[in-house]
């Protein structure tokens, strides 16, 4: 590119943004208002980790209450002040802790911290782009997220306390200021924070989608994209289509709260006030709109973790991921189905029971693509040559947790079984395993795997192993017994269980769970130390420490604007060509031309790209037919 074009591009900045190596950077433009996707991903990650610490700490505080109800804990008074007088947690604040723990973990850690971080880091690097399509919007996306975090945290310093109607903030509880203290200013701040978050996710989402579609480098066809990119792509689509509905639901709720409308309110008599003048609304409609977001949100959380796991497992097992096509189709299937099943969260909320039947039918279909993914992971491990890096261990942990938590979904998706299990600890166990722990594990796998790329340093493996084993064991000890509590009908969000002998028998289990939770929380110290100290003191990373195929490892260790110093790499094959027969090295980077084939426009020779051990058969393969129809639909061509 000539200098004139540089000048031109700088005058209208949104059109071009790469090749700025000579561009002078101040501290602010490099570290604070950075438009470089790698820096933004680091910002997302660190904010996410800080929010995660807050969220986990809160969970430990309320676990203390559950294990030793009405026992005094100095730590509770130290941190919560008037809400923990004499070291005893206030019942209202217990609900606030539960609510904010949920909100932080779901939105701030697992949506922004996981998908925000890795989408930003990996999308440009793995598809061979200089940066995101619009770096400016990318920056805005982070800063909206940051602002949103600040607003949410600030609700702790409100006199009436933060929102405490559960993370789903069902009206009328969340809509009536007099129904509980947490529904006052704290709730307003919650809504403001979530709306800012929606803006952030929207800006991020459209950026990720158009980057993936438009900015792949030469040869990076859709079927050569790493599964991480596929999962980020679908995640972005889910966020793009579902968050606006939450915006609608939130708008109605704000109007109900502040302007006296009755969208969700009807026939209410409040103690101390009398009959309210709201008639004709329906709280069930809020639940519909909320869960139209809420269910895809579950997959927004989980899918990036699954994508990261695919990459990490294939890389460390030194094998191609088993059934790439099936993996993509099941991601697509999960994304599609996640939009039409939201009602399984409301089987017994007064929704028309016939709709319950409809939702049950579509819900259980989701188990099929999930099962396919699991089996494919197992087949990938089979006859591999597995290297247990901490990332790999976390990926294996994810698969294990995903199986355990996913299977309990079959119970909850069944309307009949949900009658007993709804809102009990069974639900808590289910979603903490399948989307909580599993996604956190995916996030850790990603951090351990791409840390060398993010910071140019290596993390310490030993600390990583300790971190993994303690976290893994405590995750199971915390959540596995909860299934049994739930089956016995122990309701969630109860401040204490001692008042009823029926639930009192679970006290010893509660103690075990709490101790495991504390151990699990402390185990994160290993990670935090490992993470933050190695940024400065870690061993310098080599360019491709994991002998990986994908493009991000072809960039220099030191970050530069525009990612590649020379021209963009050209891609010749899929990302999972590990242990290709006849090759000395057990990996085959995507950008290395194979012999006798350096012109990618030759469609005939592309066949060489996919060496299969199967002998070509003439019979029609049904899955190929399925893929072909998809391919036709989206113009995907496997040459």
């Amino acid at each position: 590119m000539s200098t004139t074009s540089h000048l031109e591009t700088e005058t209208h900045g949104h059109d071009d943004h790469h090749g700025h190596e000579h561009h002078k950077e101040t501290f602010i433009s490099k570290y604070v208002f950075s438009m470089d996707h790698k820096m933004i991903s680091r910002q997302f990650l660190i904010t996410g980790i800080i929010m995660g610490c807050i969220g986990v700490f809160m969970s430990i505080l309320f676990r203390l209450q559950l294990a030793w109800p009405s026992e005094s804990f100095g730590i509770i008074e130290t941190f919560l002040g008037k809400w923990g007088k004499d070291g005893i947690l206030d019942p209202n604040f217990y609900l606030a802790l539960v609510t904010i723990h949920g909100t932080i973990m779901v939105f701030y850690v697992l949506t922004a911290g996981l998908s925000g971080t890795f989408s930003n880091l990996l999308i440009p690097l793995q598809i061979g782009a200089r940066d995101m399509a619009s770096p400016f919007m990318n920056m805005l996306s982070y800063w909206f997220f940051f602002l949103s975090s600040i607003v949410l945290i600030s609700s702790f310093f409100v006199e009436t306390g933060p929102a405490s109607a559960g993370w789903t903030v069902y009206p009328p509880l969340s809509a009536l200021e007099k129904a509980m203290p947490g529904s006052g200013l704290g709730m307003t701040l919650w809504l403001v924070a979530i709306i800012l978050f929606i803006v952030s996710s929207l800006l991020g989402g459209i950026n990720y989608i158009s980057t993936v579609l438009n900015m792949r480098t030469k040869g990076m066809s859709m079927d050569r994209m790493p599964l991480t990119i596929w999962s980020f792509f679908f995640t972005a689509v889910l966020g793009l289509l579902s968050f606006p509905v939450l915006l609608g639901a939130g708008l109605f709720l704000i109007f109900d709260r502040s302007f006296g409308t009755s969208f969700y309110l009807s026939d209410i008599y409040l103690n101390g006030i009398g009959a309210l003048d709201n008639v004709g609304g329906s709280p069930v409609l809020y639940q519909h709109l909320f869960w139209f977001l809420g269910h895809p949100e579950v997959y927004i959380i989980l899918m990036p973790a699954l994508g990261i796991t695919s990459e990490v497992i294939a890389n460390n097992a030194r094998k191609p991921i088993f059934g790439y096509t099936a993996m993509v189709i099941s991601l697509l299937g999960i994304s599609f189905l996640s939009f039409i099943v939201w009602g399984h969260h409301m089987f017994i909320t007064g929704m028309n029971p016939f709709l319950g039947t409809v939702f049950m039918f579509v819900t259980l279909i989701i188990a099929v693509p999930s099962a396919v993914k699991t089996f494919n992971y197992l087949a990938t491990l089979w006859k591999g040559n597995i290297r247990f890096t901490p990332a790999m261990l976390f990926a294996i942990g994810l698969v294990s947790l995903f199986i355990t938590g996913g299977l309990t979904g079959i119970y909850l998706g069944n309307a009949a079984l949900d009658i007993q299990l709804h809102d009990t600890y069974f639900v808590v166990a289910h979603f903490h395993l399948v989307m909580g722990s599993a996604s956190i594990f995916g996030m850790f796998a990603g951090i351990y795997h791409w840390y060398p790329k993010m910071f140019g340093k290596m993390m310490n493996n030993t600390l990583g192993y300790f971190h993994f084993w303690l976290t893994f064991i405590s995750a199971y000890v915390v959540f596995f017994p909860m299934h049994f509590m739930g089956l016995a009908g122990v309701p969630r969000r109860y401040y204490e269980f001692t008042l009823v002998p029926e639930f009192g028998i679970w006290m010893d289990v509660n103690v075990v769970i709490t101790i495991a939770a504390i151990v699990g929380g402390l185990a994160q110290v290993f990670f935090l130390y490992n993470f933050f100290v190695n940024i400065f003191k870690g061993e310098k990373a080599t360019q491709n420490p994991w002998q990986s195929n994908s493009l991000e490892w072809t960039t220099p260790v030191e970050h530069i604007h525009g990612n590649w110093p020379g021209p963009l790499p050209v891609v010749y094959r899929g990302p999972y060509e590990y242990s290709v027969p006849g090759r000395e090295l057990d990996y085959y980077p995507q950008n290395i031309p194979s012999d006798g084939e350096d012109d990618i426009h030759h469609t005939e020779t592309v066949k060489v790209d996919e060496p299969t051990i199967e002998t070509p058969t003439t019979e029609v393969d049904s899955s190929k037919v399925l893929f072909a129809s998809f391919a036709k639909l989206f113009g995907l061509n496997r040459a």
Binding site: M1, S2, T4, S5, E8, T9, D15, D16, H17, H18, A129, R130, A133, N214, M215, R216, T217, K218, V237, L241, V245, S282, V284, L285, H288, F292, F339, I340, G343, G350, M351, N352, F354, L355, V358, P567, L568, L633, F634, G635
Partner: protein
């Protein structure tokens, strides 16, 4: 974008997808005015039905169908989607399925709510 077009033409230069702006051709103003008259006509038909027919389910469905037809002309002609790549078309239109599903279920639910009250 002058320089980007250059880079597309010149294979030696690095290809830059960001600056890729396809040659957008003008489809003339004829179709635009055509679209305008159709929309106007449909709106007038709406109004005609409004005054001629008594309010019932059939009339409502006519309105909805006409609304969808109007949407087709706005999106197709004005927003140019008819002339865009058909994959772009599909990726915009397919997600609308979810909205339809939401509409069907919530109308059903609204009906059920009215019975319950």
């Amino acid at each position: 974008m002058a320089h980007s077009n250059k880079s597309v033409e010149d294979p030696e230069k690095e290809y830059n997808p960001v600056n890729y702006i396809p040659h957008s051709e003008s489809h003339g103003t004829k179709e635009v005015w055509m679209g305008f008259w159709i929309l106007l006509g449909l709106t007038l038909i709406d109004i005609a039905f409004y005054f001629i027919m008594p309010a019932n389910m059939l009339r409502n469905s006519i309105f909805i169908v006409l609304g969808v037809v109007k949407a087709y002309y706005i999106v197709g002609t004005f927003m140019h989607l008819k002339y865009e790549n058909n994959k772009l078309m599909l990726s915009i239109i397919i997600p609308i399925v979810f909205i339809l599903w939401l509409i069907v279920l919530l109308l059903y639910e609204g009906d059920a709510l009215s019975i319950m009250e």
